[in-house]
Assembly symmetry: C2
Homo-oligomer: 455 residues x 2
C-alpha cells in the first residue's frame, strides 16, 4: 500500500520539478492523468508558489474537481480558496458539488460568505444558503443537489440520453430518481436496469416504487446504518411531503463511518485521538481538561478514605487491597459501559429496564466468581479467612455497582439527549473508585471488631 | 428510520398471512418487489415452515439473491442452506457472488464442503477452493470474481454491449476492467466514461492506465483506507504479475469498516461489545477471562503494597491517596494508549522513538500540571506541605510512566506483529496501578523520616 503513497510523493516532486523548469504544459497534462484524490493531495502539499503556478494553468472546472476531493478541515480549504481572487473562488465553489461547498461555507466568516454568495447566480446562492442551515451530523449536512430526476413518462431510451448528458454534473449517475410534476419522488431506477431493458419501454414500467429515503434532520449515524444494510450507492433525501431535496452518496457515508468510529473510540478513551501531528503542548492541553476534572472526582474518593483513616491506622492491611478492589470494579464498569454504548447505538429496541436488569445479573455473576477467587487467594495468602471474606464480599458488591453504573450512565445520557459515546472509561473507573471505596470501608467497618480479634 | 424497519416487520407478517392462506402466487409477487435486504431479513425471520413454503415458490436465482444479502454469521447461513436439498443448495451457492460463498464455505465442516463442491461444475468448484484459502481479514477474503473484463481493442459500443449482457452477473457494472490477452490488467474505464464517449472510439483511448489495485494478502484495513481515500466503488485485486484476480466492492468495505470499528472499540474496553442479545451467563463468561487475568495483575500491586504495610501503619494518611494516584495515572495511560493505537493505525510514518519521546514530554507536561494542582490541594487540605510534595511528585512521576507505557505497549505489540488494538484501557490502568504504587511508596519511604516529624 505504502508504495502508492510514495508514488504520489514522487508525482508531487515531479510536479515541482516541471513547474520550476517552467514546463507548464507538461505539468498540466501529467496532473490531469492523476486520480482526483492524488490531484488533491498534491495540490494541498505543494508550497504556495508552486500551487500558484498550478492554479494559473488549470481551468475553473479542473480546480473545482480538485477542491471537491480535498480531504482536509473546512478551515484549511477556506485558506486555499483565499489564494484565489474572490471572483474565481466563488466560481469554483459554484462548480463544486453542493454537499462539499456547504461544508466549507458553514464554517466561513460571515463577511467572506456574503462576498462569495454575492458573486454567484442568485438561484445557486439561495440553494447553498438553505444547505448551510442543516445541522451538522444530520442527513441535511451530507446531501448534494446534483442528482438525476426524470419524469415517469419518459422512455428508457430518453432516460439514457439524459444520463449521458448529465453524466459530468450529477454526483452519481448510477441511480435515476423518478419524480412527478409536483417534484414528488415516486421511485428509483438503477442504471443497471436502464441498460438491461428495451429502450422503448416507459420508465415507469421498470421503476422501483418501494422508496427507501431519509429526511434532512435524520442523524448521520442512522443514515449510515441504512446504507450499510441496503447496500445502496446513494440514498434520496426527501421532505415530509416526499419532495426530493437531494441525495447522499456512499463516499460521504464512508467518511461518516470513519468519523463516528473515531469519535466513539475517543469517547471511550476520554481523549480526542484524532489530533494528527500536533505538538506536545497542544496534545497536553487537549488531554488535561478531562484529567483535571477526574482528579477532582478522585479527590472525593481520597476524602472518603480519610474518614476511615483511624480504621486504616488500626488495620493497615486494609490499605493493601484498596487498588485491587477499585481497579477490578473499574475494569468491570468499563466493560459494561462499552457494551451499553454499543447497545444504544444499535438501537436494539430493548427496554432500559431490561438492559439494567441484565447488567445487575451479569454484575452479580462476575462479582460472585471474582469475589470467590479473591476470597480464597486472600484467605490463604494472609492466613485470615475473615479478611478474605471482607475483601471478597466488597469485591462482589463493588463490581455489581460498577457494572450497573456502567450501563446506567450511558442510558441516562441517551435519555436526556446527550450522545452516550462521550461517557469515557476513565470517567466510569474514577466514579467507581468512589463507590468501591465506600463499599469496601463500610463492610470493613462492620466486621472491624471481629477482624481485629483475628488479626 | 424505525418506521422502515417496522415496515419490514409488517411485510413479514403479510408474507406469513399469504403463506398460511395458501396465496402463494401473491406471496411470491410481493416478496420479489421488496429490496434485497428486506427479502433477506424476512427470509431469515420466518419460521421454518413458512420459509419452507417460500423456498418452494422461489427460483434458484431468486434464492441465490436472497442468500447473497443475508447479513448473519456464516454458521447461521449454513444452517439455512441445510434446509434445502444438497443439490439445490450447491446450485444456489454456485449462483451467488463468490466472495459471499467463500465466506460461508470457509467455516463449513469438511464433509459438507466436499459434498457441495462435488455437485458444482469443476471449474467453479476449483475457483471456490482457491478463494477459501485466502486468510481472513485480507483482500483475498473479500474478493469476488464476477467482474467485467474487456480487451483494449474493443470499441466503446462493443464494450457497452458487453456491459448490458453481463449486467445481471457482474457484481459491479460501474467499472470495466481492461485486460490484455495475457490476463494482465492494463487499466480501468468507468461506466460514466463509456456513456459519455462516442460508441466508435476504441476502449484503449479512454482507458485510465493509472491503476490502483491491491494484492490478495493485503490487510482489509489498508484496503478500506485506500477505498476511502480514492472514493472508488470497487478496487481490482491483482497478483504480483498484475494478473487480474477479482474485485472488492464498496459494500464489503462498508462492512469491514464497521467490523474494524467494533473490534477497536472492543479492544479498548477489554470486552467484545458485539455480543448481541445473548444471555447474562454467556455475557459474564465473555467478560470474565480479562477480568480474572487483570485480577492477578492487580494482586501483584496488592502484594507490593503489603511490603509497605508497616509504613502505612505508621503513616495511615498515605492510604488516603493510593486510589487518587493510581486512578489519575491510569486515566492518563488510557488516553496515551488510545492515541498511540490510532497513530499506529494511521501509519503516520512516524518513528517509534519520536512517538515515545513525544509521550514522555506530554507525560511530563500533564504530570507537572496535575502534580502541582494536587500539591496545592493536599498542602492546604492536610495542612502538610511535605505530604503535598510527596503526593505531587509521585503523581507527576506516575503519570509520566503511565503515559509512556500507554504508548510503548501498542508500539511494541505492533513491532512483534500483534494487532495493537487489543491492548485495552483496563489492562493499561491495572498495569499502571503497579508502577504508580511502586513510585508512590518509594518516594514516601525516602521522605518518611522528615514526614513523620511533620505529621
Amino acid at each position: 500500500m505504502d508504495d502508492i503513497r510514495d508514488e504520489v510523493l514522487d508525482q508531487l516532486k515531479h510536479m515541482q520539478f516541471l513547474i520550476d523548469e517552467n514546463q507548464l504544459d507538461d505539468a498540466k497534462k501529467i496532473f490531469l492523468t492523476l486520480h482526483d484524490f492524488e490531484q488533491a493531495t498534491i495540490f494541498v502539499n505543494l508550497n504556495a508558489t508552486h500551487r500558484h503556478a498550478l492554479i494559473k494553468i488549470l481551468s475553473d472546472q479542473e480546480l473545482a474537481d480538485v477542491f471537491d476531493d480535498i480531504d482536509e478541515e473546512p478551515k484549511k480549504i477556506i485558506g486555499l480558496l483565499e489564494e484565489l481572487s474572490p471572483k474565481r473562488a466563488s466560481h469554483i465553489l459554484n462548480l463544486m458539488y453542493t454537499d462539499n461547498v456547504a461544508d466549507i461555507l458553514s464554517v466561513m466568516e460571515i463577511e467572506e460568505l456574503a462576498t462569495y454568495l454575492s458573486l454567484m447566480p442568485k438561484d445557486d446562492a439561495e440553494e447553498l444558503r438553505q444547505l448551510i442551515n442543516y445541522e451538522d451530523q444530520t442527513a441535511g449536512a451530507l446531501l448534494a443537489t446534483e442528482y438525476l430526476a426524470i419524469e415517469p413518462d419518459c422512455t428508457i431510451g430518453e432516460a439514457l440520453q439524459r444520463v449521458k448528458q448529465e453524466a459530468n454534473n450529477a454526483e452519481t449517475i448510477y441511480y435515476v430518481y423518478v419524480v412527478d410534476d409536483t417534484e414528488k419522488l415516486v421511485g428509483v431506477v438503477s442504471l443497471r436496469d436502464l441498460l438491461t431493458n428495451p429502450d422503448d419501454y416507459l420508465l415507469k414500467t421498470i421503476t422501483n416504487t418501494r422508496i427507501i429515503s431519509v429526511h434532512p434532520a435524520d442523524d448521520q449515524e442512522d443514515v449510515a446504518k441504512m446504507m450499510r444494510d441496503y447496500d445502496f450507492l446513494a440514498l434520496p433525501v426527501t421532505d415530509v411531503f416526499n419532495h426530493m431535496i437531494g441525495i447522499i452518496t456512499i463516499d460521504d457515508i464512508v467518511d461518516v463511518m470513519d468519523e463516528e468510529a473515531i469519535s466513539d473510540y475517543s469517547g471511550l478513551a476520554g481523549v480526542n485521538v484524532d489530533q494528527g501531528t500536533i505538538n506536545p503542548f497542544l496534545a497536553a492541553a487537549k488531554r488535561l481538561p478531562w484529567l483535571i476534572t477526574l482528579l477532582f472526582l478522585g479527590m472525593s474518593t481520597a476524602s472518603l478514605i480519610s474518614h476511615y483513616e483511624t480504621l486504616v491506622a488500626k488495620a493497615s492491611v486494609l490499605a493493601v487491597f484498596i487498588s485491587l478492589i477499585t481497579g477490578t470494579a473499574g475494569n468491570a464498569g468499563t466493560q459494561s459501559l462499552a457494551v451499553a454504548v454499543r447497545g444504544i447505538a444499535l438501537d436494539e429496541e430493548k427496554s432500559m429496564l431490561k438492559m439494567i436488569f441484565t447488567e445487575i445479573l451479569i454484575g452479580l455473576l462476575i462479582g460472585t466468581i471474582t469475589g470467590l477467587t479473591i476470597f480464597i487467594i486472600v484467605g490463604i495468602w494472609q492466613a485470615n479467612w475473615l479478611l478474605g471474606f471482607i475483601i471478597g464480599i466488597s469485591m462482589m458488591a463493588a463490581i455489581t455497582v460498577a457494572n450497573v453504573a456502567g450501563a446506567l450512565i450511558p442510558l441516562g445520557m441517551n435519555k436526556i439527549g446527550v450522545d452516550p459515546a462521550v461517557a469515557s472509561g476513565p470517567f466510569i473507573s474514577t466514579l467507581s473508585d468512589l463507590t468501591s471505596v465506600l463499599i469496601y470501608f463500610s463492610i470493613a467497618q462492620i466486621f472491624l471488631s471481629n477482624f481485629m480479634n483475628h488479626h
